[in-house]
């Protein structure tokens, strides 16, 4: 069959149908499936949009393209063996995932963590937060069409932080570092000095970001009063992390739960008043600055001592029956692990509370009535990683 004949035949079958749908016989709506392979869906994610012109009248997120059934896998392997899998949830910040899981298991078995290990955890978590926020802002501005310049600056700094991670944990992204009752390897003095040097360079980097972006009129025009999320809805919909604080709700699990040793550090929680994209952007910038102050304090005060609790077990780890929910303030929001033990070597139930997924609950509410271009931005400002959304 010739190409033309084939084409003609297909057209008769209805391939030539114009891409417009009728709704209620009134408005002609354009249905667009944004994703799963769209440049700005951060991976494989789909939004089924209905557009009136360029205005969004309906948005349905579709998940599951990256679903690996992480929880099912974890129920079949030992507690320790799930640790490297947590790296692969939110692969930008593996260390906070490690911490959340370790914290949940420590709650389950009542494990203590030595002081030095707690300090190392805080240092690594704050480094993770900085690099996550920097690259998430980079991605956001990339989606605004700045040809990746802020993203590349973010990656430049992230590279330095990842170098630190690699030197300590042996891997840049899949760190697999924390253990129940401490950390896997100790930091050397040289590593701490290198970390201090990186921290000294960070304020300059944040300044660079701010010069480049914060007062840019185009960025302000694009971000201000777009994608507004009211605080009541944010709380009700379980939004956590910078997104919740950008809506003006003072809820930072580091301050609420004081998990680890966060009560020893002096830091503030930046809050936004409008709950729009610009607030989310600025809250992330300001949180980076607060993280730098935490890092400075932690690197100054870090004590000596062991990094693993003497009673911690690597082999033959069998928690007594019971359950525990441990949560931390991961860079993207509340990352929780819910574990039920039946006394066996494997968890009976292992549940991840993914901030990325739950923060998407309000995506439609934020996007209704705005432009296609804004949908991309609003989606970017939520800051998700599909590895965590789909698990």
């Amino acid at each position: 069959m010739t190409d033309t004949a084939f084409r003609r035949e297909k057209m008769e079958e209805g391939w030539n149908r114009p891409p417009l749908i009728e709704e209620d016989g009134e408005a002609e709506l354009l249905e667009v499936a944004m994703g799963p392979h769209h440049p700005s869906t951060h991976g494989v994610f789909r939004m089924d949009l209905a557009l009136d012109g360029e205005r969004v009248v309906r948005l349905k997120p579709v998940f599951g393209y990256l679903h690996r059934n992480h929880e099912k896998i974890a129920e079949g392997i030992s507690y320790l063996a799930s640790m490297p899998y947590t790296d692969r949830l939110d692969y930008i910040c593996s260390l906070t995932n490690n911490w959340a899981y370790a914290l949940a298991v420590e709650k389950l078995v009542g494990q203590q963590v030595p002081e030095r290990a707690e300090y190392i955890r805080v240092i690594l978590a704050e480094f993770t937060r900085i690099q996550n926020h920097a690259s998430s802002i980079g991605f956001l501005i990339q989606e605004m069409g700045a040809s990746g310049t802020p993203l590349m600056y973010a990656f430049r700094e992230r590279e330095k932080i990842l170098d630190l991670f690699e030197e300590l944990t042996g891997s840049r992204m899949m760190c697999n570092y924390m253990r129940f009752g401490g950390c896997r390897v100790d930091t050397s003095a040289a590593w701490l000095d290198a970390a201090r040097k990186v921290v000294d360079g960070l304020p300059g980097f944040v300044d660079e970001f701010e010069n480049l972006l914060s007062t840019n009129e185009i960025l302000m025009a694009r971000c201000q009063r777009v994608g507004i999320l009211r605080p009541e809805l944010a709380v009700n919909a379980g939004i956590t992390g910078p997104m919740l604080r950008a809506s003006g709700v003072n809820y930072d699990i580091r301050k609420v739960d004081h998990y680890g040793i966060y009560d020893r550090f002096k830091f503030r929680v930046p809050l936004g008043d409008h709950g729009d994209i610009y607030d989310r952007y600025m809250v992330r910038i300001l949180e980076m600055r607060e993280s730098i102050t935490i890092l400075n304090q932690a690197l100054r005060d870090i004590p000596g001592g062991p990094i693993m609790d003497a009673k911690a077990k690597i082999r033959g780890f069998r928690p007594k029956p019971g359950e525990a929910y441990g949560r931390i303030e991961a860079p993207k929001g509340e990352l929780g692990f819910y574990l039920i033990s039946d006394g066996g070597p494997n968890p009976y139930r292992y549940r991840v509370r993914p901030p990325s997924l739950i923060n998407l609950t309000v995506l439609e509410d934020m996007c209704l009535g705005s432009n296609v271009a804004d949908v991309v931005l609003i989606f970017g400002s939520v800051d998700i990683v599909l590895g965590e959304v789909d698990r």
Partner: protein, 228 residues
Amino acid sequence: MKTMEEIKAAIEAAAPGAGVEIVPNPSPSGQHSLRIAPSHAVAVATFLRDDAELALDFLSNVTGVDWLDKEVTEKVKVTSTVTKTVDDVEQDVEETVEETRKRVQPGCLEVVYHLFSSALKHGPVILRMKTMNRTDQVELPSLTPIWRSAEFQEREVFDLYGVVFKGHPDLRRLLMWDEFKDHPMRRDYVDPDDYEYEPTPHDAVLTRANAHKAAEEAKAREGTGAGL
């Protein structure tokens, strides 16, 4: 924050007949939970959210748990009065004997809600609900109208465990595709044979995959239609 007993009392005062039951948690985490009757769940949830002292406005986590039917072997201390001769005198003595009994604990699907308060910064208060069984009576009331954050998580529980949430605005599969039949997170879920075709050092998987492949090819040869 109030203790579990106080919360229980408060709920029972606000929603009589809620059938609140404290589920103790023996682990060092000490996170005890409250089991509520599904029939009163919405009322209880509304109370917990709106009560000024509790103000549990933030539903963090919704989890499904699958409890299979299981045969429990438990040692029960049975106390009975036995007539014995002690010091040549017949006496009624209370004697405790440990008996090993077996019984089948019926399985169920359970949904666990972790509640926090963003205003008062306390928590977690853990709510649990049970279905009647694991097969046909798997309906529970949805708490999405009370807390929006349950929307995707209840869809996930529906998808992976098969709990049907009544009153959920948009109950579709979340992670698996719509045509998928089973609920993969259930404990008795069996992987499909074609789960892994790739040769691995684990011959069992490989054997199964090869068998599946062969069967499928045979099927295709017979012309009885596509495999899956």
